[in-house]
């Protein structure tokens, strides 16, 4: 469905994308995971024909994508990172304005607007100006503005930035249902949880290169260990960080520590060690490693660095 061949894009002396080759299958929910500045947005801008590559080609559903190929854009829906709406217009006016660019009949456009507004719970607010909406509502409206022409491929560039957890879940459910209806989705994020939750296949991008590609299981198989140890963060565990670090590499998250076991790690020795410090077993949990750990292994940096 989406074929990216040897795409290179440079800005002055910075290589944003370096000979990327990638294929996304029809009806796939593909995630592009990488830290800020990795090249995700540049790739999205190329996929939608907003900018031209310096080298390489992109085809979507057999059609070549460039700045000048406008017809192909009727097959693509693009959800930009920023809220790209007219604040002074109502939700309905915004949708009518953007929808009409795709040569949809007035009747069909009207039906789709109603359908999409209902789908994201904004129908009652359709006549209100966008500037009166909350951040989450704007995000939802921003998303459906890209769906009015019923695209076969949906490109979402970090669509949940700055969104509250409730709206984020609503967006996830909405995207999942779209994927189930048959839409191919390419989703960029720097949140591994989002990629893990939504995507059937993930490409990890860093410094303009795809450094890992596959399903979550395939990616995690590349790790040197099968499980990671999550330790609840509290004063007692925080005091004993040095003890944990004897058993491997310790990552500090907001609510927990995550221990990546070192070579020759034995669970019995670990529990014996922490028991001496008075750390309760219930604060410790064995987990499947995250993509964060893989990213760390591949780059030596964390996703959010």
């Amino acid at each position: 469905m989406v074929n990216i061949q040897q795409i290179t894009k440079k800005y002055a002396k910075v290589t944003a994308l370096d000979a990327i080759t990638l294929e996304v299958q029809r009806q796939e929910f593909f995630g592009l995971l990488g830290p800020n500045g990795a090249g995700k947005t540049t790739l999205m801008n190329l996929l939608v024909g907003y900018i031209n590559p310096d080298n390489g080609t992109i085809t979507i559903d057999g059609g070549k994508v460039t700045q000048d190929t406008l017809e192909i854009r009727k097959k693509i829906g693009f959800v930009p990172q920023t809220i790209s709406l007219y604040d002074e217009l109502s939700a309905q006016d915004n949708l009518e304005m953007f929808g009409q660019m795709f040569d949809i009949s007035r009747k069909l456009l009207k039906e789709r607007i109603e359908e999409q507004l209902n789908a994201v719970g904004l129908y009652e607010r359709r006549k209100d100006k966008v500037k009166t909406f909350s951040g989450g509502m704007k995000r939802r409206l921003n998303m459906i503005a890209s769906l009015l022409h019923d695209p076969i491929v949906l490109l979402c560039d970090e669509p949940t930035v700055g969104v509250d957890p409730q709206s984020r879940n609503a967006i996830f459910d909405f995207l999942t249902s779209l994927n189930k209806q048959g839409k191919t989705i390419i989703y960029t994020t720097h949140y591994m949880e989002e990629a893990e939750r939504l995507c059937s296949r993930i490409g990890i991008i860093d410094h303009g290169k795809i450094i890992a590609l596959g399903t979550i299981d395939e990616l995690l198989e590349r790790l040197a260990y099968e499980e990671t140890i999550a330790i609840i963060k509290n004063p007692a565990t925080a005091k004993n960080k040095a003890v944990f670090e004897k058993f491997g590499t310790l990552l500090e998250e907001d609510d927990r520590f995550e221990l990546k076991p070192a070579e020759g790690f034995l669970l019995s020795k670990f529990f014996a060690g922490i028991e001496k410090q008075g750390i309760q077993y219930s604060w410790v949990e064995l987990r499947r490693p995250s993509l964060e750990a893989l990213f760390l292994q591949l780059t030596g940096r964390r996703l959010r660095d």
């Binding site: 939608v48 907003y50 930009p80 920023t82 809220i83 790209s84 604040d87 953007f98 660019m101 795709f102």
Partner: protein, 437 residues
Amino acid sequence: MKQVYKLFKSSYRIFWNDKVSVALTFIVPLVLMSIFGAVFGGSSSGPQGIRLAVLNQSTSSIAHSIESSLDTIKAFRIIKSFKTDSGKTIAFDTLSIQEYVRNGKAAAALVLPPDTYTDTSVGLYVKFYYDPKNDMEMQTVRGLIQQVVFSQFPSVMAQSALRQTERYLGIESGSAFNRRMATLVHKYFNIDTNVILRPKLSDFKIGGRDTAGTSQNFLNNIVHIENQQLIGKEVKNPWATRSVGGWGMMFLMFTLTATSSSLFDERRSGVLMRLLTSPVSRTHILWNKYIFNMSLGIIQLLFMFIFGWIMFQIDIFSNFFNLMLIIIAASVACTALGMLIAAFSQTRQQANGLGTLLILSMSAIGGAWFPTSFMPSTIQFFSKLTVVYWSIDGFMEVLWRGVGFISIVPHLAILLGIGAFFNLISVRQFRKGHIFD
């Protein structure tokens, strides 16, 4: 107080980092002060190069003296002949000189008829034909003409007196009487006898307080200037008819610069990107901006003219077709200017700053605030390169002179040409793409 000082320091830091604000604070007033200074206060201030047609049909030395004096006045560009359609240069006659003014080729005409001053005259007689298209300029022209003509008064009086003395006492006795009188005046008032016997222009002063009031009426009887307005007599509200074009152009430019700069807001809000990721190209967006701005400009100008018609009885309908053509051409040129400013600016703030500078400068030198003839010749040259000059002149041709299509072809061609030229540059600049990146 410490906190106020810290805030004060921060305010200056913020201000200084905003280069556009700095430029607007210092450069705009500087440019305008320079223009106003050049017009009203500089060493070479005052009007220059006002086209004045002159026809001297008199053989008298006084008429010759008037003609010579006019030649030395830098405010005037004296024209004494015209070119026919076949390219032949012909000296004016009484009809052609009036036609010349009617056609807008000269602001006014001064005719010194055969009887300007004769051997039997006791006063001067001249004819003044004028087109008060530009009130301020015409007041200056009239003032200068009066000054030149009235300055002949002492010479006229002295020559008349000497002639009358000689006529009644005979040449011998009259001359002797004149010489004696001159000697007496010289003795008691210490005035050169030559000045008394052969008066020259420079020996007498005219004007000032002593010529006001009753003496002014006396002068008017001696020096008779026959005034005739050739154009605009039927205009109901001359002031409003003259002003509406200038004001309209200034506001039009502000509006169109602002709407052209809306591209920056659309870029910042991401709307531009959303449009460019739908089946819309950069060219589509630029065309839309251009057509929208142009139509908005037409509507705005039309609105102002209709308001002028309702409020000030400006006659916009007797030559409506040609007025519309100038409105369209002015909007085309102003839109192109707005797009050019947007194309060369990096941010909305820059566009606003540059726009303000250009609009105020162009309004000043283009004749929206005061006649271009009041500016130094260099600035007069530049004023003819502005959209404002050609638009205002076009409006005046249509509303004041009521000219037909052929007469406004140069205005239309120049305005559309300026529009096309600006568009060419701005499209090239837009293609470089900073606004779309």
